[in-house]
């Protein structure tokens, strides 16, 4: 896997490591939701796709 050193911000050793741990945990949730979406799609149920953020304005 390609890894390049941090850019101009120092991400901080502890921040870097805890982030990977927390994100790994949260990533499982994202993967499960994505697969569940695909299964439902295969079965012809539910929405065709995940709702997209592009038009939802979080900036409100």
């Amino acid at each position: 896997m390609h890894f390049s050193p941090p850019a101009y911000l120092d991400p901080g050793s502890g921040s870097f490591l805890i982030q990977i741990l927390i994100a790994a945990l949260l990533g499982i949730g994202v993967a499960v939701r994505a697969s569940w979406g695909r299964i439902k799609k295969l079965l012809g149920k539910g929405q065709a796709d995940e709702p997209t953020d592009d038009d939802a304005d979080a900036n409100q």
Binding site: M1, H2, F3, S4, P5, P6, A7, Y8, L9, P11, G12, S13, G14, S15, F16, L17, I18, Q19, I20, I22, A23, A24, L25, L26, G27, I28, G29, V30, A31, A34, D53, D54, D57, A58, N59, Q60
Partner: protein, 468 residues
């Protein structure tokens, strides 16, 4: 990597990122894009991300400019960003402004990830309020996303957004002021110590503040390049990255603050203003605004912006400053609800205004450096400064003369019940606080262009123009 050579006209806050920097020339603001981030810039423009973000009102628009670079040895391109009318700082924002700035940052990051990019920084100072909404002003904050690489700006996001919002919501609204001391955001160990124990029951705050702070202490001396490389060999997948950003978003959204018992909350109900006096005061100000047609107005001590709106509603870019976080919050919520474009509510303690801060005191400008405004309103304000804060009238006149050309000021005499209230618990040492004293002090710095007694009140309104 080479750092950009500072040029005589490069901006004081723009030196950290080797990707480029801001400079001004002939009164126009430009951003130099360095070759170091040429690929990142091209991807931003060509992937459609730039267009989408500008359309969504989340990123400042720019045009490529055909002007000589400020530092030719590094330059890739020069761009001219749309000018932001006023630069405000997070320690001047109300809770909801800060929260909306955080959510705008995360929304940008989510859109960037979809376009194969990522934010390389998440600084609250990169967000500004333009036409009532938060917008990213740093075009060079984007880098090409590489699968496996964690988010370099994670710590910065937690320090600049999550920690202050959590402290304001869960401990005390005034803790947002900590950013005036900790310019790069609130240290997470400090946030963790100040937050009540029960915040550990909230997954977002537990993970992103408490555990994050512990990890920082524990691994303070770890070699991030080595540990990071071994950790990223296992990889931080894109799903993990998306999960992290989503979790930060949930944590921010859950934080709420309701302005309780505002200092001026029902101010207009308790002043000794009758409805007709109030209407007369508005009429006087509106008339003067038509006459002087200022290009900008700062309303100092604006409360919830009642009088500021006389200016902003007629299209004048107006800033409504007040010391009370609740008043600023209510004002911002109204700006948002009514989609007002010309009014920016901000928090400020006039007895100790925002100073110049940061490296060489040149990264954040003081209040005065961000002025002058063409017109300043000082309505029902003078007694708070002259009596509560003991500022002599001539010094007040000097202060206002440094901030504006036109001053719309309300004289509040000692006989006024609001002044009597301030004097109730202290000795009256303010012999000079008289109308004659006021006119003489302000007359030294300003011409009196008009003066009108407010109907059914002891107060008097003055339209003053600064002497050159």
């Amino acid at each position: 990597m080479t750092m950009p050579t500072p040029t005589s006209d490069s901006l004081g806050a723009s030196f950290r990122d080797p990707g480029g920097f801001l400079f001004s020339r002939g009164g126009t603001l430009y951003r130099q894009v360095n070759r170091a981030c040429a690929d990142d810039y091209s991807r931003l423009m060509e992937s459609g991300l730039y267009g989408k973000l500008v359309k969504a009102g989340l990123l400042v628009a720019h045009a490529e400019a055909d002007v000589p670079p400020a530092d030719a040895s590094l330059a890739h391109k020069i761009i001219q960003p749309e000018r932001v009318p006023f630069i405000s700082y997070p320690y001047e924002w109300s809770f909801s402004q800060w929260k909306d700035a955080a959510l705008a940052t995360l929304s940008i990051q989510k859109r960037a990830l979809k376009a194969g990019m990522s934010l390389k920084d998440a600084s609250a100072y990169n967000i500004q309020f333009v036409r009532g909404k938060p917008i990213l002003i740093d075009t060079l904050s984007f880098e090409i996303y590489r699968e496996g690489k964690p988010w370099d700006a994670y710590r910065q996001f937690c320090q600049h957004f999550l920690a202050p919002l959590a402290l304001m919501a869960r401990v005390d609204i005034r803790l947002g002021q900590l950013l005036r001391v900790h310019i790069d955001g609130i240290p997470l160990d400090l946030a963790s110590r100040l937050l009540p124990f029960r915040t550990r029951l909230d997954f977002g705050l537990l993970a992103h503040i408490h555990l994050h702070a512990s990890a920082q202490t524990r691994y303070a001396d770890a070699d991030v390049k080595r540990t990071g490389a071994s950790a990223s060999r296992r990889g931080m997948s894109k799903n993990a990255f998306i999960g992290l950003v989503g979790s930060l978003e949930v944590a921010v959204k859950k934080l709420a603050w309701k302005p309780a018992g505002t200092e001026w909350g029902n101010y207009y109900a308790i002043t000794n203003y009758s409805d007709s006096a109030f209407a007369h005061k508005k009429e006087i100000i509106s008339g003067w605004l038509k006459k002087i047609a200022p290009a900008s107005v700062w309303d100092l001590g604006a409360n919830n912006g009642e009088f500021s709106r006389l200016a902003s509603a007629s299209g004048i870019p107006t800033i409504a400053w007040d010391i009370d976080p609740s008043a600023v919050e209510q004002n911002y919520l109204r700006v948002k609800a009514e989609k007002e474009q010309n009014l920016l509510p901000l928090a400020l303690d006039l007895t100790n205004p925002s100073p110049a801060l940061g490296w060489a005191n040149a990264e954040r400008d003081s209040l005065g450096q961000r002025g002058p405004a063409e017109a300043v309103f000082a309505l029902a304000l003078i007694h708070h400064l002259a009596i509560s804060n003991n500022v002599p009238l001539p010094r007040l006149a000097d202060f206002f003369a440094g901030l504006c050309r036109w001053l719309v000021i309300e004289w509040v005499p000692k006989s006024d019940s609001q002044v009597q209230k301030l004097l109730r618990s202290r000795k009256d040492i303010f012999d000079g606080y008289t109308r004659e004293g006021f006119e003489s002090a302000f007359g030294a710095r300003f011409h009196v262009r008009e003066a009108v007694d407010v109907d059914q009140s002891d107060r008097r309104m003055y339209l003053l123009e600064r002497k050159n």
